[in-house]
Amino acid sequence: MTASNPKSTPTADGKRNTTLDLAASSLRDINEILQSAEGGEFRVVNPRGAHALAAGLEGDVDVTIDGHVGYYCGGMNKKARISINGNAGTGVAENMMSGRVHVRGDASQSAGATGCGGLLVIDGNASARLGISLRGLDIVVRGSIGHMAAFMAQAGNIVVLGDAGEALGDSIYEARLYVRGKVASLGADCVQKEMRDEHRRDLRRLLDAAGCGPEVLVDDFKRYGSARRLYHFHIDNIGSY
């Protein structure tokens, strides 16, 4: 199965750079090409808000999408490096396993939901429920994030250069949250925690990986995480539920 009129040109390093046009090919055809590729570079044009674009990729590929995408772009991604030159709809990089997804614009709700590994970078703002049920993915947001971020987040890191909305980290498990700006409120069982050297090193690593320069100072961030008071259901905590 091939997309109609895929344009392929050699790149400087010898890889094939293939252009895929969603105005001329179906979502299925384009996803099939991306899912089947073990390597190479691809540029997707005219995404026009398509849902599930570049979902389920498994190869060591670079995909650049020129324009806005709909729901679940890069969903369940493994290995692939996906760059979105636009905004992303709900659930970008949901359940991502590894690789990298970079949203150059803003991201809608549930970005990185249940993500297990890799790195999600959002240059703009992210809406509600960023990193909900996070399971090991690292997320860096250069802008601000909406309410209920990191709800029930189990593992992984979330770094926010801007502000965080209400109920940050509600019912959080073992994920780590770093916020540079204001936090509107913390959710149940989420508390501010001491920033030790190990956390500073980890945060620096995440900022570097996301392309944030040395002007972004680790010491400007505060760390949040679980107080672990709700790890066992107890009637004395009923007011927290």
Binding site: Y72, G91, G136, Y173, H232
Partner: protein, 445 residues
Amino acid sequence: MSADKDRWIHTPPRESATFDRHTIAEIHRAAATGIYDIRGFGAKRKLPHFDDLLFLGASISRYPLEGYREKCGTNVVLGTRYAKTPIEIKIPITIAGMSFGSLSAPAKEALGRGASAAGTSTTTGDGGMTEEERAASTLLVYQYLPSRYGMDPDQIRKADAIEIVIGQGAKPGGGGMLLGQKISDRVAKMRTLPAGIDQRSACRHPDWTGPDDLEIKILELREITKWEKPIYVKVGAARPYYDTALAVKAGADVVVLDGMQGGTAATQDVFIEHCGLPTLAAIRPAVKALTELDMHRKVQLIVSGGIRNGADVAKALALGADAVSIGTAALIALGDNHPRWEEEYAKIGTTAGCFDDWHEGRDPAGITTQDPELTKRLDPVEGGRRLANFLSVMTLECQTIARANGKSHVHNLEPEDLVALTIEAAAMAQVPLAGTDWIPGANSR
């Protein structure tokens, strides 16, 4: 004389119908502990059920088929609407989703072995797919749950079908809680959480809300699996007419409808007993929605919740289901609540036939536990054989009834073959009250 005289002075003890012994005991328990009762199993209250229906059998106008001679088909194909590779099961009975975590690894393996021997499918649960389960199951349905514990695209690709779980009959609208004592190192690792802590299973999906989003979620799952695998949508019986219609609209290949008698690993007793619809009341509205959309038999309907024998299977199919699913009955077939463990049931304050503390991890039968010593009590080979036997009996019973009603395939059973013993069952199943032509509530939704 004196004793006879006293008899007329003191009335014998009279139990209150409103405050019966169970109710009084529950008030005492609540007053002592300050917390609601949590348990496994499904609804235990008396509900209108398949027992309230009867098949008519053949008569002058209906020819029966010869038992042991004339063929009565039982196969079902699931996923014919969109999936490139629908699955075919040899019997109209599947094994419902139950998690590794709530069940032991040998129990999951036994379910796979039994289902495979009978030619049908089994289903994963919260926490994802175990290697033993995949290896033991010829046909394995992968549950895509709100918690997404253990969710891995590679496991989805290894599955034969995907079941998006919106809810379950025991607790439509509820999530779950796997208590810390059942969180072994292996369970914890599969769920990316520390061992020994209570694990909350979410009640809502994290990245979609409502039917329009569900349509997009189904699109994503189809794209990731190259449109090969059937996609089921499982709902608890709450608003079956609308939920079925919305599942069809969202693009489901199969709708799984779970009535309130369906089992759960752990939920509040008040939730189990007071939410949802009885299975009997849920089937006809779902079939009506499918029929109105011209999707009956095109989108398959699997019904679950209190299916116990071949008569229940036949009745569910006659009301319009394509297949049924069993969970509690399958665990019982493996050995749950078996009298051989009576002495140990007594030690934990219960008795064989009543054990429902599946969440506590102390199951003497080694099924609903992660205790290494208890789990050894269930031999997955023997358990699988018992389950296969049970599935075989259910199928034979269903065929017996179908032949008696003149059907060469169990799918040819129809509501016209049934009557109801109670007005309530007649209204819910939309079949006549026995001996009359009265269907209460006919022509209403």
